[in-house]
């Protein structure tokens, strides 16, 4: 059987399906002995995937083997578990795997840790409670087990905040490894555990990112690794590379950076091609930090550019791409185009990416319009059909809107584009790619009127010629036809258009035929033409409100309400999930035979009731979807986003202009070149080098590098609050905040939150008053619209009369916590609230925040205090509510996030005419949105039966005086604001709700030494999130 199985593996490897043998593989794993069993498991892991139904048949075998006294069988079972295991079955074997963590054999412990790693990858929530065991594994006396635990940590530390305290341990481990403290058999070519070192370096770089104090802990050990890795072997270079990468990721230290850069230098000049590649790769992010470093290696880079290996060349271009600035862009782009020309012989999709880079380069840095158009022409003709469709679209938008530069300059750009396209069309057009043709025809249609003395007739003729080309696709043809329609007003053009439209009105392609007919009508009726194209900028009712009556009529006649595609899919998925239900119910039965008896839900309710409950809910959800919510994207001023984009572009232009003066470094770079005898070739190379690296001087370059970041930041609307002479603040702020707020309620559009939620203008009175200004935003769940029931939370400023307050208190500089507390608005101080924490401050303003819990809302209170002696004007607070909105909907529905970040900024003017901003961020936790749900036991019972999804978990019991159940539940009640409905004997029922009104029910029972909890909620991931907090709370107790 074993031989046959190996042959089946062989067949599958060669690509022939051998699905008939799958069941035999499972049988072999079940019944075989030793090597046969192993081969059975191997075959299973090769044949099946995680979602394969047959995998369920394996669960029992795995369970049996895990409990076996034979080490080898346990080992095999753990191996296969860490390769693939059905997600739903994890709870069944989790206790067994956990138990293996304390096995005396290192190999078992190691495999158990690896199995937990797998569990963490597929179902992170299920292993949340054993994080402390991971720590134990990290401190295991066996290096193998420790290594295995690093895999988990590398995953966990993707979210580094809660693991900063482990930095010391990781540093210590790395130090020991580097120092050769491990047994000799971990060495590879005399290098101690190189892959372990690499893993540790990765973890350290994640921990130290943007964190000075943590980074300081590692400087020493990183330095040591740099020094130790001197041996001339590939693997030491691999470690060095990782080390350099870590040094450049963590908070920078100049001394180390220098050393690392030197190291990279050795890589790049190495004759070994693989090292050269790695060196160039390292260089790409080294220059991102400090472009002037490329200067040291300029000659090498030039050599690599001419390297015969296209991969090396590509990597080099990547480096060049990073050091692009206004002055060298022309040369670099030329090099890239050369490269593209050579490479397109073998069409590789990857170079799409390269073509994609160009417009980026061109937008930000292009020296002049003419160059830009010409480069784009080359890009289009080279890029051809493989080009990503965004590129032409982007380019056209650019032509239409300009870079935000002067109107005149923009016109010039357009005229130039028209010119160059006309010349292109006059020559042979057969080789031009379709995409380019489309761009050409659109640009000609829109802008050819800008050019003086150009007859539309001439353009139309050229277009007509193009139309007749054999290889033009019908998509391009329709572009051309619409261009002709735009031009058809002139007398000569009309005749030509008539001719064309006659020919195409009998075309087989319906789109073409329609366009031809349109063209015909437009060209014959100049009046219609004029009207049509003036109406071009008409306002579109994107909400389709004119269909409302139709919809309501249809609904009243019993038509099914419209469901968005994603909703329909959701529904399908739910139905599918239900059909799987029998498995989970049959699970306890099979499990009980394995002495795990407490898995059943306490009320294994009948399937039918849960089914009906679910479908009810679905119906309720779908009927609430209405079209009104889409309204008002178009305001009176037009589409808001567009305005922003233009303004933003204007900013870019502003930022770009100061960069134009020549950098002092250029002179230096050139003087470097002059000494020594140089052959002509070398001189040429050096010339190229000087043109490539021009402008990489220290200040200039950092400015340029930084610039792309600054422009990509979200555009912030500046609000200029006029200096007020009165201290009446709330009136003015009310107007602005109110309008935006009401807009918001109407829009109810999450996308719109790209604009800052609202801009509160507060002018602190003109005297030399100082003191805290308290402003409260109310995060509330407004039941204004029925489709908010998914648990979205609206952020809405309170009505200014009652809630928005300014406290202007003279002479209270040096604010302490206590004084802040005294400023707390009285009606808020009655509510339970969190500690006031300082979020951000600068020399004149400090910002604190606190969360107050109202029964139906969370109030996020921002307290601003002026700690300088002078007055502050034009204060405005912006809260980036995009975060709140998006993350809350995801929090609840998609991913079990347990916290979200609120970001915002305060801008003010301390000195007239000089605006300063203060950024702040704060975290909101799920618990902030949890409120007790008061229910009677009967109501609880009804509600419990109406939900079907069940999550179960064992929790720690608090051992203390009195009843442990009571103690545990009241601890949870205190910390998480739950409501204890009833406690009967060893069982307790608890209820809570997530704002606005998503209930979550907990059923607790003491079982053994722990508290077994079942959770039910209509929101799928709410129980998971809540469990996380329960565990956390109980750990802390």
């Amino acid at each position: 059987m074993k031989e046959i199985m190996v042959r089946a593996i062989y067949c599958e490897m060669l690509g022939y399906e051998a699905s008939f043998s799958y069941i035999h593989a499972i049988k072999l794993a079940q019944q075989g002995s030793a090597i046969e069993k192993r081969v059975g498991y191997l075959a299973v892991s090769l044949f099946l995937n995680e979602s394969h139904d047959l995998l369920l048949l394996l669960v029992n075998t795995v369970l049996k083997d895990l409990q076996s006294t034979n080490l080898i069988e346990v080992c095999m079972a753990l191996t296969v578990v860490s390769q693939l295991f059905p997600k739903d079955m994890i709870p069944a074997i989790l206790p067994l795997v956990e138990e293996k963590l304390t096995n005396p054999k290192e190999i078992i412990r190691r495999k158990a840790v690896l199995a937990l790693h797998k569990f963490y990858l597929i179902a992170p929530n299920q292993v949340q409670h054993i994080h402390s065991k991971f720590r134990k594994a990290l401190c295991d006396k066996d290096p193998g087990v420790m290594t295995a635990s690093l895999h988990i940590y590398l995953q966990l530390i993707k979210n580094p905040d809660s693991y900063k305290d482990l930095t010391g341990s990781f540093v210590a481990i790395l130090r020991q490894v580097v120092g050769g403290k491990l047994p000799v058999d971990f060495n590879y070519h005399n290098v101690p555990a190189p892959w372990l070192q690499i893993q540790l370096l990765r973890i350290l770089s994640l921990l130290g990112k943007d964190d000075q104090s943590t980074s300081e802990l590692m400087y020493e050990v990183l330095d040591e690794s740099l020094r130790r890795a001197e041996m001339n072997h590939n693997i030491t270079y691999a470690i060095l590379y990782e080390c350099v990468k870590a040094i450049y990721t963590i908070y920078p230290k100049s001394e180390l950076l220098e050393k690392a850069a030197k190291c990279i230098g050795n890589f790049v000049v190495s004759p070994k091609i693989n090292l050269k590649y790695l060196g160039l790769k390292a260089l790409t992010y080294v220059v991102q930090q400090d472009a002037s470093l490329a200067l040291q290696h300029q000659m090498t880079i030039i050599e690599c550019l001419d390297h015969s290996d296209s991969i090396i060349k590509r990597e080099t271009l990547e480096v060049l791409f990073r050091i692009t600035n206004v002055k060298n862009v022309a040369v670099i782009v030329e090099k890239m185009l050369d490269f593209l020309k050579n490479v397109f012989m073998e069409p590789d999709i990857l170079f799409l990416l390269y073509v994609g880079c160009f417009p980026l380069l061109s937008d930000t840095y292009s020296p002049n319009n003419e160059w830009f158009i010409q480069t784009m022409n080359v890009v289009f003709s080279l890029g051809g059909e493989l080009m990503h469709p965004d590129i032409p679209n982007n380019f056209l938008r650019l032509l239409a809107q300009g870079f935000g530069s002067e109107e005149e300059e923009q016109q010039q750009l357009r005229v130039f584009a028209v010119d160059s396209y006309l010349t292109l069309l006059e020559s042979d057009t057969a080789h031009l790619p379709q995409r380019f043709l489309q761009v050409i025809s659109w640009a000609l249609g829109e802008f050819s009127y800008l050019k003086d003395g150009l007859e539309p007739c001439k353009v139309t003729k050229l277009l007509a010629k193009l139309l007749d080309e054999r290889n033009v696709t019908s998509e391009s043809r329709s572009w051309i036809l619409s261009a002709m329609a735009k031009l058809s007003a002139g007398p000569g053009a009309a005749a030509l258009a008539l001719q064309v439209s006659e020919r195409y009105s009998s075309s087989l392609d319906t789109v073409l035929r329609q366009q031809a007919l349109e063209l015909l009508h437009l060209s014959q009726d100049p009046e219609l033409h004029a009207r049509f194209f003036h109406l071009w900028h008409v306002q579109v009712d994107s909400s389709l409100s004119f269909l409302d009556s139709f919809v309501s009529e249809a609904l009243s006649q019993g038509a099914a309400p419209y469901k968005a595609p994603h909703q329909r899919q959701e529904e399908l998925r739910q139905e599918k999930a239900l059909s799987l239900e029998p498995y989970s119910i049959s699970l306890p039965v099979s499990l009980s035979s394995c002495s795990i008896t407490d898995r059943q839900s306490p009320t294994l309710l009948s399937m039918s009731s849960s089914l009906s409950g679910n479908s009810n809910e679905l119906k309720a959800g779908s009927s609430t979807l209405k079209l009104e919510g889409v309204k008002r994207v178009w305001g009176k001023e037009g589409y808001l986003h567009q305005q922003d984009a233009v303004e933003e572009a204007a900013q870019v232009e502003e930022a770009a202009t100061p960069a134009l003066p020549l950098s002092p470094q250029q002179g230096g770079a050139e003087s470097q070149q002059t000494h020594g005898d140089l052959t002509v070739v070398e001189q040429e190379k050096q010339k190229l080098a000087s043109s490539l690296f021009v402008g990489l001087g220290s200040q200039n370059s950092t400015f340029l590098m930084g610039k792309s970041d600054s422009t990509s930041q979200q555009f912030r609307r500046k609000t200029r609050a006029a200096d007020s002479t009165s201290s009446g603040v709330s009136e003015r702020s009310s107007s602005s905040s109110h309008s935006s707020c009401s807009d918001f309620l109407h829009n109810n559009l999450l996308e719109d939150s790209q604009n800052s939620l609202n801009t509160q203008k507060i002018g602190v009175s003109n005297g030399t008053h100082e003191g805290p200004v308290t402003q409260s935003f109310q995060t509330t769940s407004k039941e204004t619209s029925p489709f908010l029931d998914a648990g979205m939370v609206l952020v809405q400023p309170c009505s200014p009369q009652t809630e928005l307050r300014d406290f202007v208190q003279p002479g209270s500089s040096g604010i302490t916590q206590t004084s802040l507390r005294s400023q707390f608005p009285p009606e808020l101080s009655q509510l339970p609230h969190s500690d006031i924490s300082l979020l951000s401050s600068d020399h004149s303003l400090s910002l604190s925040a606190c969360r107050a819990y109202r029964d139906d809302a969370l109030l996020f209170v921002i307290i601003l205090s002026n700690c300088s002696q002078s007055s502050t004007n034009g204060l405005s607070v912006q809260l980036d509510c995009k975060h709140i909105f998006e993350t809350f909907s995801t929090l609840i529905q998609v991913e079990p996030h347990t916290q979200v970040t609120v970001a915002g900024s305060v801008s003010y003017r301390a000195v007239p005419g000089h605006t300063q901003t203060l950024q702040f961020t704060d975290k909101l936790f799920l618990t902030d949105f949890i409120r007790p749900l008061t229910l009677s036991t009967e109501e609880y019972g009804k509600l419990w039966l109406s939900f079907s999804q069940d999550v179960r978990q064992n929790l720690k019991l608090i051992q203390g005086e009195g009843d442990p159940l009571r103690a545990t539940l009241s601890a949870l009640k205190e910390q998480l604001q739950l409501h204890i409905v009833d406690i009967i004997g060893s069982e307790g029922i608890v209820a809570c709700r997530l704002l606005p009104d998503s209930p979550c029910l907990l059923h607790c029972r003491i079982h053994g030494g722990s508290l077994a909890v079942w959770l039910r909620s209509p929101l799928l991931s709410l129980p998971d999130c809540l469990l996380y907090y329960c565990q956390k709370t109980l750990e802390e107790c």
Binding site: K2, V6, I9, Y10, E12, M13, L14, G15, E17, A34, I35, R38, V39, L42, S45, L46, N49, E50, I72, C75, T79, S82, Q83, I107, L114, H117, K118, G144, T147, A148, H151, D185, F186, Y188, A193, P194, W195, L196, I198, Q199, N234, I235, Y237, A238, I239, Y241, E242, I273, N274, L275, K276, Y277, L278, K281, S308, D309, I311, I312, I349, L350
Partner: protein
């Protein structure tokens, strides 16, 4: 992360394949052919790393046998390059110097897989210690003999 591990002979025939990410059975031969083509076309003096679609290939040649590993962008190419060598050294140790014999791998496909499984798990490097990798297999062999 490692996406797949392939052993291919000079004629482009797959001798061993292990995927750490689900790939449809039907798509595997095409993918393998693509991968092999792009590796075989490389010169000796060109570097051992190739970009292929959205991942990178690291390959190493041992006489008539190519070992190709597909990795994601975040992986360290050189360390994988050496990992391949480590793997070959382990095979060497186990089969006592017959790496060049492609037949050895063909006829001991299960054992090679077992060694690989000890070494790479879920696309991560799980163990690199030679004795530890071979330990489970040795025990199994002993059991089979006894």
């Amino acid at each position: 992360m490692i996406k797949f591990f392939l052993m291919v002979n000079k004629q482009g025939q797959t001798r061993l394949s292990r995927y750490y990410e689900q790939v449809d059975l039907g798509k595997r031969p095409a993918l393998e052919a693509d991968v092999v083509r792009s590796c075989l076309s490389r010169h000796k003096d060109e570097c051992s790393f190739v970009e292929h679609k959205d991942y990178k290939l690291v390959f190493r040649q041992y006489a008539g046998l190519f070992i190709v590993v597909g990795i994601t962008d975040t992986e360290n190419e050189l360390s994988i390059y050496e990992l391949v060598h480590n793997f070959v050294e382990i095979l060497d140790k186990y089969f006592s110097r017959v790496v060049s014999a492609e037949a050895q791998i063909m006829f001991n496909l299960d054992r090679v897989h077992l060694i690989l499984d000890e070494m790479i798990l879920n696309g991560h490097v799980a163990e690199t210690n030679k004795t530890r990798i071979l330990a489970p297999l040795m025990v199994l062999d002993k059991l089979a003999e006894g």
